[in-house]
């Protein structure tokens, strides 16, 4: 469970990006986070990852108040949250397999576990045959699936997707959405920030809209904009 309780974030320059946000996301939900650029979507993601601290309020992930975590506890918190970005963030000099294995290596997973887990996750995202290729040999959609595999390889309970289809053409975007749905059906909670109105409209999932740091809409099976 993810819970924001009266969360506010004010930057040093006095800009209030989040104003008293209250939001609860249950385990296994699929939530779209929509709103114009600068509305506060990425701040919510950064707060969840503890890349920044809220000015006020508490944020609960699982059953822990993450605002109370000490610095050295942050890495362990992040292992429970997979992230994919608009720009994929793959290592160009590593193969598909190595990029995914890297996420396990750096949390000191046993090599046996790595050899077992990486092929499973690659077949889940449909890239078993491309394991030995380098990112620049892949299409954008395939690269995003590699980054999905990397995000999921340590079996996090939450997946955050920050504009995952932002750099992809419509066909590839739907590929990714299909994979995300599958991941969600296996029980992973998904929070996806997006501007892709057609995707939000067709998926019929929960939509949380944020504008000027305030949640203006929270609908089950909603559309991208309130009229839809």
């Amino acid at each position: 469970m993810i819970q924001f309780k009266n969360v506010s974030k004010e930057f040093a320059d006095g800009n209030k990006v989040l104003k008293n946000i209250n939001l609860t996301i249950n385990n296994g939900e699929f939530v779209f986070l929509v709103g114009s650029s600068g509305a506060g979507k990425s701040t919510i993601i950064k707060l969840l990852l503890k890349e920044m601290e809220p000015t006020a309020g508490t944020i609960i992930v699982g059953d822990k108040d993450i605002t109370k975590y000490k610095r050295r506890e942050i890495p362990y918190h992040r292992r429970n949250i997979g992230v994919v970005f608009q720009d994929f963030r793959l290592l160009q000099e590593k193969t598909v397999y190595e990029n995914v294995a890297f996420a396990m290596e750096v949390i000191e997973a046993p090599p046996k576990e790595i050899r077992r887990q990486v092929p499973i996750i690659l077949s889940m995202v449909g890239l078993s045959k491309k394991a030995g290729l380098y990112p620049q040999q892949l299409s954008g959609g395939e690269q995003q699936r590699v980054s999905l595999a990397r995000a999921m390889v340590n079996s996090p309970s939450i997946l955050i997707a920050d504009e995952p289809t932002g750099n992809l053409d419509p066909d590839m975007s739907w590929d990714i959405m299909k994979t995300l749905s599958e991941i969600n059906q296996r029980g992973t909670t998904i929070l996806m920030a997006t501007h892709a109105s057609d995707i939000v409209d067709k998926m019929k999932k929960r939509v949380v809209e944020i504008e000027n740091g305030i949640i203006t809409r929270d609908e089950m099976r909603g559309g991208y904009s309130s009229e839809a």
Partner: protein, 298 residues
């Protein structure tokens, strides 16, 4: 730390060394330069110490006697001196022996001494060797309280000068070494900063998939240590070879009245290797820690 993690760190450390080979070469060169100078100062200080102890152990005391003492009195004095604490041996040197010693020392110039046999101006003397040179002043005091003694002479000033020179040398070495250490640390920190910059994507990924701070830092620290170690090995090799050659060259050269020789190669080499290796590793580690600390904020 697990073994495989260690392997991961070492592999990554060497990989980035290779990737920024120009900058790494610059860093290694600066470490070599710094360690060479540090090593030279170490050699100088050690050898001054070595010469000082050698000289101290050679210290002898001459006790000049008043003229015209009878054999009886001389014998009593000898026994008296021998009973003083810290005196190892006492040898009587008569004025005649002293003159013939002088003639021997002067060699072909000894004709200048001809005719002195009749009216020998040299005094009778005792030659005292000491069991511990640091007792010299105490022994000198006890000896001069015995009657019929004209003068007690030992290399007091020479010893003091030498110890003084050692002190000055030590102090200036410390200052120079500190400056050099500072420069090397700075250069290593800059090298590592470039590596960090080149690998910022990788660092970012490591952080969001949940690598611990130490896990992210470690490869860079290893890289710094490797730079320091390579520098240490090269500079030890240069200094070792140089020292081996020089100590052979200098062996038993006379400078003035002092017989000079360098500390034997096999006595100095181990401490030199240890010193340079430790200093190299420490400046490498400290240098990379400085830049890593600034760069890797979660």
């Amino acid at each position: 730390m697990k073994l495989r993690t260690g392997k991961f760190f070492i592999r990554e450390g060497f990989r980035s060394l290779k990737r920024n080979s120009t900058m790494s070469a610059a860093a290694i060169t600066s470490v070599i330069a710094a360690l060479l100078v540090i090593g030279i100062f170490f050699i100088i200080v050690i050898n001054i110490d070595y010469a000082a102890t050698k000289l101290e152990s050679q210290i002898e005391m001459m006790v000049y006697l008043e003229d015209g003492l009878s054999e009886n009195i001389i014998d009593t004095m000898k026994t008296e001196i021998r009973s003083i604490n810290g005196v190892k041996s006492v040898e009587f040197i008569s004025k005649a022996t002293a003159l013939s010693n002088l003639e021997k020392n002067w060699g072909e110039n000894s004709y200048l001494l001809e005719g002195l046999e009749g009216d020998n101006p040299l005094p009778d003397a005792f030659l005292i060797t000491l069991s511990d040179p640091s007792d010299a002043s105490g022994v000198a005091l006890s000896v001069s309280s015995i009657s019929n003694i004209e003068k007690v002479v030992y290399g007091k000033e020479e010893l003091a000068n030498l110890l003084n020179a050692t002190y000055v040398m030590r102090m200036s070495s410390v200052v120079i070494i500190l400056i050099l250490l500072f420069i090397s640390v700075f250069i290593i920190a800059n090298t590592i900063k470039l590596t960090l910059y080149a690998r910022r994507r990788e660092i970012g990924i490591m952080k969001f998939v949940g690598a611990t701070d130490w896990f992210v830092r470690m490869p860079f620290i290893i890289e710094g240590i490797v730079v320091g170690m390579i520098g240490a090995v090269v500079s030890t090799a240069i200094l070792g070879a140089g020292y081996y050659y020089c100590s052979d060259l200098v062996k038993n050269q006379m400078i003035g009245f002092m017989s000079i020789s360098l500390m034997p190669f096999n006595q100095i080499i181990i401490s030199m290797v240890m010193l340079l290796l430790i200093v190299g590793v420490v400046i490498g580690a400290v240098g990379s820690l400085i830049s890593v600390r600034k760069f890797i904020k979660v």
